[in-house]
């Protein structure tokens, strides 16, 4: 089970050095309650915060709350929070992809038509920062933070974002929402080495076996029930009895 639990209970906090080492391996799900480590100002929210590399404390609170509505869950039926999706998104934004890898960034910039796709100047990191900042100011006007709204009000706000009803200081809210949703799905289903899909809860939800990939002997056993098989992550393969890439099948 993930060391991050809503009850706040768990094993003793590891030293900061152990935590950073764990984070570097992408095993952020091992992070135990961080009573010894502080980020910026304390924030409210269901999770106790690991060391975010990109998000500020208030951005993290928004992301944790928003992703928990996009893919809801609890201890019995894990969702985005239990999968550490916010960590996945944080790592993605702090890294090359967040900085614009894979994005053509030369101008001139024009709006274009929908078939021409994303045409903003912003890298993903810039997009998140601008959008969340704008959302915080928007909600600040009514004196609430997203994380403190009731779930149904959070959903209503997310729907407004999704439908493009808000202009986030020049960023159409649906553009931000679509990226957030895509990143949430990625964080739920990608290999755990990227910080999300902790304990492979995303894969377990659907029955995807993960990085295990040797089906020659079973492919023609149509309809076979494999639901009790444990998925395998990239970091785990090779620790099983069957070596990785073996032709032996199971």
């Amino acid at each position: 089970m993930s060391g991050i639990s809503k009850s706040g209970k768990g094993p003793a906090a590891p030293s900061r050095r152990v935590l950073i080492k764990a984070g570097g391996l992408g095993l952020a799900s091992l992070a135990a309650p961080l009573s010894g480590i502080t980020n910026a100002a304390p924030v409210s929210g269901p999770l106790q915060h690991p060391a975010y590399r990109f998000f500020t404390a208030s951005e993290a609170a928004f992301i944790e709350a928003a992703t928990a509505r996009l893919i809801p869950g609890n201890a019995e039926s894990p969702g985005a929070a239990e999968a550490d999706v916010p960590i996945y998104i944080d790592r993605a934004l702090a890294g090359a992809w967040g900085g614009g890898a894979g994005l053509y960034r030369s101008g001139p910039w024009q709006t274009g038509v929908p078939s021409q796709g994303y045409q903003l100047k912003l890298t993903p990191a810039e997009l998140y920062r601008a959008a969340i900042g704008s959302i915080e100011r928007e909600l600040g006007r009514t004196g609430t933070a997203f994380a403190t709204l009731a779930p149904k009000d959070q959903d209503a706000f997310l729907k407004k974002l999704e439908q493009g009803l808000l202009d986030l200081d020049g960023v159409p809210s649906n553009v931000f929402f679509d990226v957030l949703l895509q990143n949430t799905v990625e964080g739920f289903f990608s290999d755990p080495l990227y910080g999300g899909n902790s304990n492979m809860v995303g894969w377990k939800l659907v029955g995807f076996p993960g990085a295990y990939a040797s089906w020659y002997d079973l492919v023609d056993k149509h309809g076979i029930d494999l639901s009790r098989r444990h998925p395998m992550a990239i970091a785990q393969e090779g620790t099983e009895a069957t070596p990785s890439g073996s032709h032996m099948g199971r």
């Binding site: 992809w97 894979g102 038509v113 659907v206 990939a213 089906w215 494999l226 090779g238």
Partner: protein, 591 residues
């Protein structure tokens, strides 16, 4: 920076070391030429680049597209028609431009079809069958200048090189049970037996047979047994790992330049492979009569000239077009005046699907699949049915092409399901392992308005204009899609599911979702130098020591996958080079 290198002249320079480049380079090397193969991307090989478990990383290879070009450095601009301003694909989703040694054939899914006999003489065929006024005059369909019978031995060579698996449906004109009854006649059986049938394929087969259709297992370059190919290289049986297209194969079980030819080619003393060598332009003499070689950037970014009296352009279809335009070879096509040839007849693929949602007792296990595992019917492909009542040309093969169940890309939900929240999560859990997509893989007809040229505004990281794509689905193809999708839905409704969804392809063409990497046209082949770029031997009409080979030669795109036809054209061109051109350099077809 160290001084610019000046490599010694060679006999031939091959631009692009993918499927085509590797085949042609090998033929020239075997004929005794000194050949340099230039590849813009990095060296790639099964070991170390495609090894499990690292290769089984959906985020890295499918979503972030590690084996493709980096849009930060280069991309394409796109518009639906000349009324729009083309804008860059700031993220490339629509197709997968491969990068690196092996090209797209290192990470394709392997599905193999031949084109029909009628495809190569499509205009004549349609006019004879239905009359000259049958199809929309905006469609620039034409005969290719080469016949299927001439290419047949070269299709066979491709099969034997790539270890293609399947069951023949037509051997020397005689129908064979178990194969595609509509396929063009083959001289020989496939070199390897067909893949195993997936559960999804079995469900489709049972339903399709109720209509009297004749389903067959798709031919593919995913191997079904240990096989030593025509170059003496051994491939291994596919493990149905579900990480095929967008991935290199760790098992040596997918036909690719790495597994079929490069290990032999690279041993030849008269061949040199230079990866990370980006060709900027083909150099032409002052009178513009012949090419003198190419200018490229080496791995350190130094501008280098490779002299050679023969230049092979095999850089992937769209890149072929761009390189000719950047080099000023041939007259660029202009739609307003219908003049010029380079960039003309760009086409794509017209895809749609029907989806069957099953009861939870039906476990599809989509993750057990290879790139080409499918059971198909071809009753509505190509020219296989009477189009008279329908008013369109072209068609589609139909069937479930399950290539894996990687969950970021594949988490089907019924129509009406919200995109997020508890209902979405419940639907994903409910349907992931109980859903089958039936693909309609439809043809793409060329039009006056769909074409390629150089963008006037946007440039790549090397300051060269990007290639501009002007494309939308012609009405003809949307009508075709309506028809074939209707057929797919009929079958889907008999497959025993609880719910069937799906619909035809709708315009406009969009860049925001993946459809296919089967972009074709732009350096089309034919007999008319004013309307084509290469003659029937794939030799440039304008510069006779330049040969341009790839899907850019296609005059239209058929309902079938293009790769085997590209392979056949590669062998066909190699033969023309070795058997004709090298014996007597010059124009092989009088202009």
């Amino acid at each position: 920076m160290s001084p610019t290198p000046t490599p010694k002249p060679v006999d031939a320079v091959v631009v692009g070391m993918g499927l085509v480049g590797s085949i042609i380079a090998k033929a020239l090397v075997d004929a005794g030429l000194k050949v340099v193969g230039l590849e813009r991307g990095p060296m790639r090989d099964t070991v170390p680049d495609f090894l499990a478990p690292a290769i089984h990383d959906e985020l890295k290879y499918s979503i972030r597209k590690a084996l493709m070009i980096d849009a930060a450095k280069e991309t394409f601009t796109f518009r639906n028609d000349v009324g729009q301003t083309a804008l860059p694909m700031r993220r490339i989703e629509m197709f997968l431009p491969g990068n690196g040694v092996g090209g797209a054939a290192a990470h394709w899914n392997g599905l193999v079809f031949r084109f029909q006999e009628s495809d190569f003489v499509l205009r004549s065929h349609l006019e004879q069958r239905y009359g000259a006024k049958f199809f929309d005059p905006a469609l620039t369909i034409a005969d290719w200048g080469v016949r299927y019978a001439e290419l047949e031995p070269h299709y066979d060579r491709f099969d034997r090189l790539y270890g293609v698996t399947g069951k023949a449906g037509n051997l020397q004109g005689v129908r064979q049970p178990g194969g595609n009854p509509f396929e063009a006649p083959r001289s020989k059986e496939y070199p390897n037996p067909p893949m195993k049938e997936l559960y999804a394929g079995k469900l489709f087969r049972t339903a399709a047979e109720q209509f009297g259709y004749q389903p067959f297992i798709g031919a593919t370059a995913n191997l079904t047994r240990t096989y030593t190919n025509s170059e003496g290289l051994t491939l291994q049986p596919c493990m149905y790992c579900g990480f095929c297209e967008r991935y290199g194969c760790e098992h040596f079980a997918k036909g690719s330049p790495q597994t079929t030819i490069l290990p032999v080619l690279r041993q030849k003393p008269n061949f040199e492979l230079r990866p990370q060598s980006r060709v900027l332009r083909i150099n032409v003499d002052r009178e513009r009569r012949f090419a003198t070689g190419v200018t490229y950037l080496d791995a350190a970014g130094r501008e280098t000239v490779q002299s050679a009296p023969l230049v092979i352009v095999s850089a992937f279809g769209m890149n072929n077009v761009r390189l000719l335009l950047l080099s000023g070879i041939g007259k660029p096509y202009e739609p307003a005046t219908d003049s010029g040839a380079v960039g003309r007849n760009f086409a794509y693929q017209t895809l749609s699907a029907a989806t069957v949602f099953y009861d939870e007792s039906v476990r599809i296990n989509p993750f057990m699949a290879a790139g080409g595992t499918g059971t198909f019917i071809d009753e509505f492909g190509g020219q296989n049915f009477d189009h008279g009542p329908h008013g369109f040309v072209g068609g589609a093969f139909i069937g479930p092409l399950l290539t894996g169940g990687r969950p970021i890309e594949f988490h089907p939900v019924p129509p009406g399901t919200p995109r997020w929240g508890q209902s979405w999560k419940d639907a994903v859990q409910r349907h992931y392992n109980h859903t089958v997509n039936i693909l309609c893989h439809g043809s793409s007809m060329p039009t006056r308005g769909n074409y390629l040229d150089l963008d006037p505004t946007y440039r790549d990281a090397w300051n060269q204009p990007l290639l501009r794509i002007t494309f939308d689905f012609p009405k003809n193809d949307l009508k075709m899609s309506q028809f074939v999708t209707g057929k797919a839905l009929e079958i889907a409704n008999r497959m025993g599911g609880k719910l069937v969804a799906g619909g035809a392809r709708q315009g406009p063409a969009v860049t925001t979702q993946y459809q296919s990497t089967h972009t074709t046209g732009g350096t089309i082949m034919g007999d008319d130098p004013s309307r084509t770029v290469v003659n029937r031997y794939l030799q440039s009409w304008d510069i006779p020591n330049v040969f341009v080979v790839g899907a850019s030669n296609f005059v239209h795109n058929s309902s079938y996958t293009p790769t085997a036809t590209v392979g056949a054209l590669a062998f066909w061109a190699a033969d023309a080079l070795v058997g004709r051109y090298l014996k007597q350099p010059g124009a092989l077809v009088p202009t």
